[in-house]
Structure formats: C-alpha cells, structure tokens
Amino acid sequence: MTMYLFYFLAFLAILCGLMVILEKNPVHSVLYLIITFFALAGHYLLLNAQFLFIVQIMVYAGAIMVLFLFVIMLLNLNKETEPHKSNLVKFAAAISAGLLLVVLVAAMKGAETLPAPATTNADMGLVKNLGQVLFTQFLLPFETASLLFLAAMVGAVMLGKRDIK
C-alpha cells in the first residue's frame, strides 16, 4: 500500500514539475508548482517526517506560493513578452542538461543496493527528535542561520526604502 502511494506521489510530482515548465501561462505554472510541493510533502509523510511535512505545506505551498502569485499579478506577466533564446543557446543548454541527466542516472543506478543509513530510526523525523538534534549537534548552524536572516532583512530594507538625498 505504501509502495503504491509512493509511486503515485512520485508520478504526480514529476508530471506537475514538467507542467510547471511546459505551461505557457505563469499563473497555471504556479498552480502546478503548488501541486508538486504537496506531492513532496506527501513523501515526507511517508518517511515519517511530520515536522518537515507541515513546514513544507506552510512555508512552500502556503507563504512562498502566495508571494509568487502576488508578484505575477503585480508584474502582469500574462503577455508574451519573453524574448526568444537563440538556437545555439538552446542547443548548448540541452546538451549540458542531458549530460547532467546521464551523470545522475549513472549515480542512481547503484543506489538500490545502498545500505540502510546508520541512523535509521523510524521516529527520527518527529518534532522531539529533530529538536534534540538541532539544539545539540547542529546548534551552531541553527544559530548562524539567524545571521543569514538578519543580513537578508537589512538587504531587503536597504533595497526597499526611499532615498534621502
């Protein structure tokens, strides 16, 4: 049952991911992206990572997507104003992306025989365990992230505020 659910979610995620880039209308693209995010959240739930599941839905499918929609509406991107890339660029992009795909497929080929990670603990994704790891082993990165957000906030204020001459 879990297996079928996994394949269904994976199929949904890949299909909607493709639709995001194939769809001409940007608003439709964003809607497909939301479905992709929900499918990924389903994967987290299958892995028993409940905290990530909720965060994925709240932050990505919720907050960030609303922001996306707002920006698209404000910029009025519905018109076809996008300049077309030259064929040479398209060709180069296709080749390099294809090479990347080859590398990834080759890397994933042997992955099915991977040993189970040492820390396979079915309850690892629960909020309690996650918090314990975050506040002991990964305390410094957790605190350093605040520096990142502070820098980003100062930057946003600087770009947003009106000039005083």
Binding site: V103, L104, A106, A107, M108, K109, G110, A111, T113, L114, P115, P117, A118, T119, T136, Q137, F138, L139, L140, P141, T144, A145, L147, L148, L150, A151, A152, V154, G155, A156, V157, M158, L159, K161, D163, I164, K165
Partner: protein
Amino acid sequence: MKTLYILTALGVIAMLAEMFRFKKFLLPIVLIGLLGAIASSVKDWNTNIHYYNYMMTFDNFAILFTIVLCATAFLWFMMSQNFLDSDPIAIGSSKTDHYALVLFALCGGMIMVSYSNMVMLFLGIEILSIPMYVLAGSRKDSLSSNEASLKYFLMGAFATGFLLFGIALIYGATGTFDLKTLSYFISSSATVPTWKVSGAEPLLYAGILMMLIGLCFKISAVPFHFWAPDVYTGAPTPVTAFMATIVKTAAFAAFLRLFFTCFSGMGSVWMNTIWVLAALTILLGNITAVYQTSVKRMLAYSSISHAGYMLLAILAMNDHSLGSVLFYAAAYSVATIGAFTVLSIIENHQATRNQQPATVTFETLSGLAKQNKFLSFAMTISMLSLAGIPPLAGFFGKYYIFTSALQSGYVWLVLIAVLGSLIGVYYYFRIIIKMYSPSLTDLQAQPTAVEEKGELLSFAEVGWDLRIVLILTILLALLLGIFPDFIIRLI
C-alpha cells in the same frame, strides 16, 4: 570563534549607528574592531580548537585566511568611505546599511575559511552571497547596477542549488556532513568501508562533481563565468573591489579546504575536470581581457584569469599548495584594492565634473601621469604586481604556484599558465603606457588647455584616507615581494 563574535557585533553596531546618531564615529569603530578581530585570531595561533561538535575548526589555515580577509576589509573600508560619504550621483542608500551588509558578508567569508562541516560551508556561502546580491544593486537609479544585482542573484541561486544537491548526494552516499569523517571514509582503503562495496560510490562521485560546479561558479571559473563581467561592471566600483578580493579569497579558501582535506583521496574523479577548467579559465580570461575598452571590465576579466592560476595550486595538491594560494590571494587582493581605488577616484572625479555616471576607458586614463603622478604611480605598481613583474608580490605569487604545480608534474598546464600571464602583461602594460603617454588634448596643445587642466585631477583632490590606502597597497606589494618567505613559511 571570538573573531566571528567580534565581526557579528560590529555588523549589529553598524546597523544601530543611524538610530543612535554615532554615524560619524562608525568608521573608526569598524577599523578598530577589524584590528581587534585580527588580534583575536592571532591569539588562537597553533591552538587548533574545534567548536560545537566540529562545526568549525580554527587551524592555522583558517587563521591566516581570516587575517587576509580582515586586512583586506580594513583597506576596503578606508577606500570606500569616501564614496559612500560624498557620491555625487547619490549612492542611493545610506552608509550604515552598506557597513552592516559588508560586515555580515565578512562573517560569511570567515565561516567559509574555517568550516569543518558541510552545513557550515553552505551557510557561510549564503551569508557571504546574499549581502553581495543587494550591494551589487545598491545604486538604485542605475540600470546596469540593477541588472548586475538580478543577474548575480539568479545565477548565484542556481549555483547554490548545485552545491546543495551535491551536499545531499554526498550525505546520501556516506551518511555524514562532517569533513573529518568524510575524508576518513574516502581515504581509508585498507579497511574497505561498507559503502565501497555497496555501489554508493557513483553517488559520491556525482556529489563531488556537483559541489565542484557550485564552487567554480563562486570563483567565476570558465565556463561558469558568464555572470562575472556584467556583475563586476554594473556594480558600484567599491562593491566590485569587495567582490574581486574578499569574496574570491573566501571562495578559494573554501574550495581548498574541501578538496584538499576531504576529497584528496579521490583525486582521479575531479582532477581532470579541474585541469580543463584551469586551462580554459586562464586562456579565455586573458584573451577576452585584451579586447576590452572599459578598464573596469578588463579588471573583471583579469580577475577571472587569476582564479585560473589559483586553481593550479588546488590541482598541485602538495605541501606548497596551501602556502602558495594564501600568498597569491594576499598579493592579488592588495594589488586589486589599489587598482580599484585609483579607478574609483577617477570615476568619482569624472562623475563630479560631468554630473553623470562615468565609465573609465583606456582613453580616459591617457595623460594621467601628467596630472597626478601619485595616482599613476600607485596604478602602475598595482598593474605590475597583477602582471607578475619582479620584485613585486604578484611575481612571487605566480612563482610559488607554478613551482608547486611543476613539482606535481603539470608541465603542460604550467606552460599554458605562463602563456596566459604573457598575454596578461600586454593588457596590464597597456594601462601603464596610456597613463604615461600624452593625452589627445595635450597633443593639440592649445593655450586654453592649460586652464582646463586646472580642473583636472590634482594631488590635493585625493583625500587623506585614500592616500593612506594607496601608500599601504604600494608598501604591501613591495614588502610581500621582497620578503615572500615570511608568509609562505607560516603554513
């Protein structure tokens, strides 16, 4: 670790300066703080302390690079404050924001030179990059500045994606973020670890390749360099100076730390790739620089080619690599700060006179030596050092890197690098020749031209702080060139 606390505190103080009205004292506070940061990292010499479960390690490598970063930042703050204070085109945003962002970026740079966990590497790169995206666009009324910011942001986010994917793949293959555990996994061939038989190896290879792509973007190696010329040209000149020195030094230190200490046991996977990247970077960077008319754009391409030389040291992977990269980064930073200081003085002067943003071309520089001997001398020293002429610092930087590459048997690559630096000599000397040859107005030699010259750039117009920066860069270029052993022996 104290160094990081000091830098973070300085950033917060800079943010508060506007509110509590001590903006005027901000520059001295920051300069003293930077000196304190240098002193506190010197105090940790030879201690090799780990912090918070091996998240960061302050070994001598980290301390030396921290000192180089802080010293470059010291020079940068002195050179830039004039332009933040009195920009005729209106810098667009207030000085305190610039200070805070630059100090936060410096914190990121410090994390990048001292991390020993890949999570910290990612955080350091982001803390360094996000202020740079904003600073590149800090001249809000200029279209090219906006373009630079957006381009840098989009490309940077894309490259970070690669880096993160690489980290995830490596975690998938080995189950660890820790560099020490990882290098143990990779190099311990005697006791075959479990992952080697299990078929996870390709996963690790792909991860290393992805991280290589992400880091090559940050150091702007060809073919991941397409953002660099536009961003360097579009960003305000002091910000470009910061990007060309501190960002590049930190990115190289991070690169070196990862590949030298961690992936060295798997050299066969990534060495050929870096060989090709280094050759391409040196050749393309130098050849394209020859065709530039704008001095700033030429310096952008030259900074790309310098990344190529430093890649040589990563490839060499012997005892001299660390020392030679450190020396090269220091020599290159000093010379670049000097060149950009002169460039921004001239730019500022032109902009004040014409009341519009100016681009300094090679023609603008012609006859500079006649107007201002000091500026042209400082520029000459910087150019000679960048070109690698003895007895300046740049020469010994190149010398150490080339010898360490030769010791590891990369004869062809060193030949390409020497060829590249010969091309480099051509375009660096073009600037010097332009400065010391008479300008077009001189050749027409009209009597009124003398009066006009009074408005041109005189020595008195160069502020005291800028004079000190230029004298310091000249002295450092000479001192590093005369006593190169002093730094090399430290690592």
